[in-house]
Symmetry: C3
Amino acid sequence: MTAPPFPSVSAFDVLNWLGLLAFAFAGALDGADEGLDVLGVAVLGVVTALGGGITRDLLVNRTPVALTATVDVLLVLAGVVAAVLLVGNGRELSTDSPAVQLPDAVGLAAFAATGAIVAWDSGLSAFGVLVCAMLTGTGGGAIRDLLVARTPGILVEDFYATCALAGATAFWALRTAGAPRPTGVAACVGVALALRVLAIRYDWHLPTVG
Amino acid sequence: MTAPPFPSVSAFDVLNWLGLLAFAFAGALDGADEGLDVLGVAVLGVVTALGGGITRDLLVNRTPVALTATVDVLLVLAGVVAAVLLVGNGRELSTDSPAVQLPDAVGLAAFAATGAIVAWDSGLSAFGVLVCAMLTGTGGGAIRDLLVARTPGILVEDFYATCALAGATAFWALRTAGAPRPTGVAACVGVALALRVLAIRYDWHLPTVG
Amino acid sequence: MTAPPFPSVSAFDVLNWLGLLAFAFAGALDGADEGLDVLGVAVLGVVTALGGGITRDLLVNRTPVALTATVDVLLVLAGVVAAVLLVGNGRELSTDSPAVQLPDAVGLAAFAATGAIVAWDSGLSAFGVLVCAMLTGTGGGAIRDLLVARTPGILVEDFYATCALAGATAFWALRTAGAPRPTGVAACVGVALALRVLAIRYDWHLPTVG
């Protein structure tokens, strides 16, 4: 619909591709961990990678980019294939290992930024920008968790969705204050990624209520 | 897209706000019951409150109201904060207590009415009106249940979605018979709310099959 | 939005109706198996039947056909009623019996074809055609599985989504090679249905990874 023009390669594209690759890899490894068959592993990788972006595009009422662009798909496939090759070669890769968690953190930060960008361009409210960034960053992982009948990690585990929210807040504040887009995007990615890496490194958790 | 104009405050607005407040409160209390962390509690409240309306707006192909309007968000936050304060003060509030079930019934009736209104304005069929009202009234709660990996209450527990369907049927019948909008809306809310309160009070259940 | 005109009865209509009827029947039987109440059984039948098509229509940004067309609804109801009558008469119908699995296979093939048709008409990429066909064919069943808190069968069980993908691949290849629509549609249905029936008959499974 109102898809902004992205001539040549934009920051949106680069972040989108990064996120797709990283989440496809992490999602497929998760599926292998769960003992799924080949198609299940591939589906989990694809769902983890595409779920966030499709949610984002549905929220702002446009046909999902992932279903019309072809380079997106190749990156998702590359992520899945990399995961399958690693597992097929007998590498034990728990989903808690840095080799999985770092790409996942990159995906979270990159997708949070694409969500914030699209929400901003669609004229959503501050809350809309936060929700869109959070759902874009965490939606794929949440759908993956639901598919394997787990309570989504974003609800119980850790300092995860918070990172996307903090990044989007930085983006919105800077943009509202008049900063140019690249500044807002860089701040969003930087804040989200730094918080997530620190949360993993120092095992940060939010307090529970009551 | 075809969002009808709501000058000043309409019945739709009032019902939407009521539903948001009530569901945010009930959803957050549920999250506290499940032992989630602060963000999890807030997410559950937000999801319960916004899930139905976002589903409604996606079904009729418009950008979710909740992501562009700011008053909606403040009400959701108020509901979540109220729930957190209650729990933080050591009040034991089981999700079966009237203090939770009554607001939930109000939310169900109010959201069923907003779903019926939007479906009618979008030219959906009688069935479309019923589905849209039911999903708007129960969608947030169903997504909440899925997030905490429970079978949605609407499927197993009780006389719940039925109330939304009955209210929407009243709305559709009256509007089709030529009654003005306020009459249809009042009937929808009245029927759904009365049925739900009676179902809770007298422990009504639908029969099981086979 | 860009809904193609379907004057009189098109292949899309016939396949859509077939799928609705078959999935409503299979979904309702599944709900009875799970011991749900009458509304739960009906909801499971309706969700299984409508879930795929609604997902399809959301992906290509149009208001779901099922919410505006009335004949669709009558077929879904017919499927649910047939299932309830069978169960009510004391027939033991496990979801593994041919009386359930054959209609389900027909629904899978028919819906995969409607997904491929709509995706093609909306100008999606090859990947978009595959995803749309797969989600249309399997989406209703996956939502049903989530509602009763099971890991979706498409991820763990069997040679299922693969059949939809193979059918959509045949459709896309033939259409891209210039074959007329009826040829592509027939190939899609034929390939998906044949693979699924063979998979059931000979208990085919995909290999697991690692």
